[in-house]
Amino acid sequence: MRFVDEFREPELISKTAEEIRRLAGTQRHYRMMEVCGGHTHAIYRFGLKDILPENIELIHGPGCPVCVLPMGRIDDGLAIAQQPDVIFAAFGDMMRVPGTQGSPLEHKARGMDVRIVYSPSDALKLARLNPEKHVMFFAIGFETTAPSTALTMMRAKAEGIRNFSVFCNHVTIIPAIRAILDSPDMRLDAFIGPGHVSTVIGCRPYEWIAQNESKPIVVSGFEPLDMLQSIVMLLRQLRAGEAKVENQYKRVVPWEGNRAALKAMAEVFQLRPYFEWRGLGFISQSALRINDKYAEFDAEQRFEVPGIRVTDPKAAQCGEVLKGVLKPHQCKLFGRECTPEHPVGALMVSSEGSCAAYHNYEHRKAAMVSLGSIA
């Protein structure tokens, strides 16, 4: 398969892994955070830990939109969908995320009209096909998905569609990185920068990380070779005592980002003064709301929203895992009360969540008598 297989080429991967071992040496321990959930998933799916030296530690960051969504927002969205003639539309990613009364899929099993859509424009299509119903799109995601939500609302406005709204949970990546860096228990050497988000925002917004925090950051693709090459680039910077923003994912990410996408976001959204992140708490100016020009499409303005706040179960240590302070398996609930079939914390729901990824791909491997016997 073109554009995929080239980046999974065994010989190149072995060579790059060898270069990483050479650069990493044995004297120093490196802690690198991959910000994006897609990277977390790729690390486990491709078994990259097996080929990295032990002194390179990858810390899973906050870049899984499902994982950082507070449970109260899910309850709010489902409460709206409980009103008569409302269709709840969301990405597949959302369907198993538990609210206090169950996930969207469980609500569907009890009779709620819940639809899986593959893009916001599919939700708008549902609205056109069901004029007697109201379609509420439960929007999630970072800057990766926000532009398509924005364009869909612009389309809805242009067409004069009245039975469509968006329950907006879009968040922005930079404040989350800032919150991680501000956290006193956090010690990081470098960042593997998010690939998909950067296709929209470009590389410039990361410059403060290099300049003010003196941490190298390399925006990376998602194939094994992409990620290994990014680690090589980070090690070179660290060894040279440098801190700059580099772009490994040039085949997709323009340095300046995607102007058309940013323009669409600016047309429809404005920053919320603050927003709650699961595990990280309230972060100021970290999320988007729909601006007054598009108020008619804002589910939060059209419907009575209960504004539910749910505190995470005390025993769950999602926050510590999300900030990279704990490894998934170090949480007290991991693999016992909290499993992919019955997730307590959201990190166990999405396959991009570090707990689910670890549970699915890694933890029985770690429990094996001898790793040597399976390689």
Binding site: M1, V4, R8, P10, I13, S14, A17, H41, Y44, R45, F46, G47, L48, K49, D50, I51, P65, V66, F91, G92, D93, M95, R96, L105, E106, K108, A109, R110, I116, V117, Y118, S119, D122, I140, G141, F142, T144, T145, P224, P340, E341, S350, S351, E352, N360, Y361, E362, H363, R364, K365, A367, M368, V369, S370, S373, I374, A375
Partner: protein
């Protein structure tokens, strides 16, 4: 759904046996063929219906009738849309049951069929599916001597559901039992995986994706017979990886025999279109349903002859050894890559949901 005990239950049906199924309600996941399905079958159906110690659950039960052992199985078909590139519900309803019998080492002799029809179903649609069944039955050499029809109100069923129950004669020279699997055995796959599941996903028209792809629905009996003829004494286990995909079937085997299934990723046949769709949607081909492939575990000395025979047979040219049985990871499936990475692949959890963000 696998509901069949592979051995005749020693104990009789008991309505007071303790059950372990604690999920508060039935979800779609309980029918998706993965972990939740297994929990339902093992936690509720097996203790009450299959007797105290039913043994590993297989694709068909073997039942003793006055000294003659026959294989029996049943399957319900609720596919949407009814027809799709490469096949339709009628064809699936015959081949699915023929295949469940084949991989339990039996040749289907007769099927009985049960229709649940939704009022308002156009007759031409029904007729087309009955014709598809007749053709598939003729091709597989199986009779359909009896059936039943129920009609439910409009809106209470998705056009039509079909249930087929089949009995089969045991094929000579083969004895499949997961407990006979040993370290060093080879894992065989009859051809590319994921064609059916991805075809259905695309045929629903909910994705703006198109691909030149057809369901793999077919009777696997001819290939199973080829395998038995070539390597019968070496065959330890067979399974057709339908819902839940190859990963779920192999996880069930790993659990039943307590050994590790180690797969070589570059050896697993997957068409580029299926790989592409899976990459886009965040799915794993190992979790995608198949309707015309089977997995087999054979002892190492029979592996080459088995593959050679399959590759020469019509429809078997893409058969591959995809892995081997090892001590570790005990009870689990591990996929290894050429560059030295590896990952555990679990059973499917819930329905495969496309990932977007």
């Amino acid at each position: 759904m696998r509901l069949e005990a592979s051995t005749a239950p020693a104990a009789v049906v008991s309505d007071s046996a303790p059950t372990r199924f604690r999920d508060p309600q039935i979800e779609m996941a309980h029918g998706a063929g993965g972990k939740a399905s297994r929990k339902l079958v093992e936690g509720l159906f097996a203790p009450l219906l299959f007797g105290a110690a039913p043994g590993p659950l297989g694709d068909a039960a073997h039942v003793d009738l006055n000294g003659t052992t026959v294989a029996i199985t049943t399957d319900s078909f609720v596919v949407k849309p009814l027809s799709f590139p490469g096949g339709s519900i009628g064809e699936l309803a015959v081949n699915g049951t023929v295949n469940d019998l084949a991989v339990s080492g039996a040749k289907a002799e007769a099927l009985v069929v049960s229709y649940v029809l939704e009022a308002g179903l156009p007759t031409p649609i029904l007729e087309a599916e009955v014709r598809a069944m007749a053709k598939a039955a003729r091709d597989a050499g199986v009779r359909i001597p009896a059936g039943d029809t129920k009609v439910v109100e409009h809106g209470k069923a998705d056009q039509m559901y079909i249930t087929t129950t089949g009995i089969g004669r045991l094929l000579r020279g083969v004895n499949v039992d997961p407990r006979s699997v040993r370290v060093g055995d080879r894992i065989l796959l009859s051809g590319p995986i994921g064609d059916h599941g991805i075809t259905i996903l695309l045929a629903r028209g909910e994705l703006d994706l198109e691909a030149d792809l057809r369901s793999d629905t077919r009777s696997v009996l001819p290939l199973v017979e080829t395998l038995i003829h070539a390597a019968g004494p070496g065959i330890r286990w067979m399974r057709d990886p339908t819902r839940g995909g190859a990963a779920t079937s192999l996880n069930e085997l790993a659990r039943d025999c307590g050994l590790g299934m180690v797969l070589f990723e570059d050896q697993i046949p997957v068409r580029d279109t299926v790989r592409g769709a899976c990459e886009l949607l965040g799915l794993d081909p190992l979790h995608i349903a198949n309707e015309g492939q089977f997995l087999a575990v054979v002892s190492p000395e029979y592996a080459d002859v088995a593959i050679n025979a399959l590759c020469l047979a019509p429809g078997g040219s893409e058969a591959q050894v995809i892995g081997e049985v090892r001590e570790q990871p005990a009870g689990a499936v591990l996929v290894t890559t050429l560059y030295g990475g590896s990952r555990i692949v679990d059973m499917l959890v819930g329905d495969p949901l496309p990932r977007i963000c």
